[in-house]
């Protein structure tokens, strides 16, 4: 049963993310991503699977234009957000609408927990009243199930938290800006199973209001959490389907071989 947020999304048919013939190259003729065309389903979790070097993280990073930090990386094709090419939008606008959570937790070391949650506002020079700040901090930390653990130590350094808590803090920091999309680059790779479970639950709750694309190295995790899955091999999109269908009866031999290898 979809939540209200999902209904709102579907009824308004907004926030659509489409990739058309997207290729990414690190040097001329060497492609990390080759002609990927896909329409991301809104209010759902889409997992990106594939072997190391298949281009999963590159694909994710190109969606919010993080690739532009490295001048040698070239992108061709079109990534559109609500029908508008993101390359014609301001990168700042793209990144605010499409939040990103990295593989390793990366709270800002010089800020405390409270400041970390609000860092998006501070960095974007959006001024808030004390009451607004408190509300955003509490809501964002509650969203990631961290509020009860840190509510009495908001002034402590973010680095005093465990790795799992730091990762949830980073998700809270991203959520505080209310992005429409969440890109998650294998967010549970560095944390223990209990925290992994919490983050998976969190993603499941978030999908009511957010479209989530997650890179998953762990196939069982991908099958557990995702509604849709795409399999990349050597930069090519081999298959994109409902995850239950793909994991049970993949249409392409290459997907089947990869899934079989991972299970074995």
């Amino acid at each position: 049963m979809p939540g209200n947020g999902k209904l709102h999304y579907l009824m308004n048919k907004k926030h659509l993310l489409e990739l058309k013939n997207v290729s990414v190259s690190f040097s001329p003729g060497i492609y990390a991503i080759k002609n990927v065309s896909v329409s991301i389903k809104p209010c759902a979790i889409t997992s990106v699977i594939g072997a190391s070097g298949a281009g999963k993280s590159t694909l994710l990073r190109s969606i919010n234009r993080m690739h532009e930090l490295y001048p040698n990386i070239k992108l061709s094709g079109e990534i559109s957000l609500d029908g508008k090419n993101i390359m014609e939008m301001k990168p700042i606008e793209v990144r605010r609408r499409i939040g990103m959570v990295f593989q390793m937790p990366n709270p800002f070391p010089a800020m405390n927990i409270y400041q970390n949650v609000l860092s998006g506002y501070k960095l974007n020079k959006i001024y808030l009243s004390k009451a607004e700040k408190d509300e955003i901090v509490e809501k964002s930390l509650q969203d990631v199930a961290l509020w009860d653990e840190v509510k009495n130590s908001l002034n402590k350094s973010a680095l005093s938290l465990t790795v799992g808590q730091q990762q949830r803090l980073c998700i809270a920091r991203t959520l505080a800006l209310q992005p429409e999309f969440l890109l998650m680059d294998d967010p549970t790779s560095s944390i223990d199973p209990i925290c992994t479970n919490r983050i998976e639950e969190l993603m499941y709750r978030l999908k009511d209001n957010h479209t989530i694309i997650v890179v998953a190295h762990n196939l069982s995790q991908a099958s557990r959490i995702s509604d849709y899955a795409m399999y990349l091999e050597k930069g090519e999109l081999v298959e994109y389907d409902i995850s239950n269908v793909m994991f049970v009866a993949p249409k392409d031999k290459r997907t089947e071989r990869y899934i079989t290898e991972q299970i074995e």
């Binding site: 606008e93 990295f102 390793m104 800002f108 860092s119 960095l123 680095l159 980073c170």
Partner: protein, 292 residues
């Protein structure tokens, strides 16, 4: 027949002895300098030494003849050094910092490479050459030795140090800090000012203090730019004294030779204190980054 294992133990012990011996030999000049400074320098240290300006040659000769302690102090040198240093910091730090950021962020751009080369050349440039150049362009043009000419000379020496300190500090920070700031939709400037600098502030300040302590000991460019002054001078356009200039002046006058040691001891302690503060800041403000 010595077994191979015992042979290795002997070799290990031998190298231990060599390392300790060489370390001790290296310490001898340092310890002897400190000992001489304390032994000869403490004689003239009294409250007047810090509150009075340097004595004239006549006062020094009379004191020597009567076997008394040379009157006067180094107040004009202390004030001059701090004044010149302050102007140097104002001229250098913002400029050096922004150039350091520019170099770090655009390492492969042609202009950036050019600046890196120039900075490297000036880093090792003999200070007297910079002094002479400033003398030709500023002192001769304005027909006066001045505090600001000295500051310009010291700035040229200090600028590459600040650039390098900034660049090295930024290099030590992981890329993910910048990426995570940008991923929140922040502008590049905002990430540098609000994420990178606060994280690196300890190292940046340490770099500044170490540069200052190195600049404090520079004498040659000041001889040809600020000249020196027997009074405390706060006029930026007039000749000004400094601690190193006083050491130079005292050493040129046999009657004031004793003052050299006291002034050198003061400078030595001042630089040691600066270094201790730098180490303390580095330790106190050290931020252990995740994934280190």
């Amino acid at each position: 027949m010595i077994s191979y294992q015992k042979f290795r133990i002997y070799i290990d012990k031998f190298f231990h002895v060599i390392v300790y011996l060489f370390s001790f030999i290296a310490l001898i000049p340092f310890l002897s300098i400190i000992w001489t400074l304390l032994k000869k320098g403490l004689i003239h240290v009294n409250p007047n030494f810090y509150t009075q300006t340097s004595p004239s040659a006549t006062e020094a000769i009379l004191a020597n003849l009567s076997g008394e302690i040379i009157p006067g102090g180094i107040l004009n040198g202390i004030c001059g050094s701090l004044y010149i240093l302050l102007i140097t910091i104002i001229l250098t730090v913002p400029l050096g910092f922004f150039i350091g950021v520019y170099i770090h962020e655009n390492r492969k751009q042609k202009f950036s490479i050019f600046i890196q080369y120039i900075s490297a050349i000036f880093y090792g440039m003999p200070s007297i050459i910079i002094g002479i150049t400033v003398y030709v362009f500023i002192v001769k043009s304005f027909h006066s030795f001045s505090a600001w000419a000295g500051s310009v000379a010291l700035s040229v020496l200090m600028l590459p140090m600040i650039i390098r300190a900034t660049d090295e500090t930024l290099k030590s920070l992981p890329t993910y800090l910048k990426e995570s700031g940008l991923a929140l939709g922040a502008s590049y400037t905002s990430v540098i000012l609000r994420v990178i600098i606060p994280t690196a502030k300890g190292n940046l300040l340490t770099g500044l203090l170490i540069s200052v302590s190195r600049i404090l000991g520079v004498t040659a460019p000041l001889i040809v730019t600020t000249l020196g002054c027997s009074m405390v001078n706060w006029d930026i356009t007039k000749p000004t004294s400094s601690i190193t200039l006083l050491i130079w002046n005292f050493s040129n006058n046999p009657c004031m030779a004793d003052m050299v040691w006291s002034t050198s001891l003061f400078l030595f302690i001042f630089i040691i204190v600066l270094n201790i503060i730098a180490k303390h800041i580095a330790w106190k403000w050290k931020i252990t980054l995740p994934h280190e």
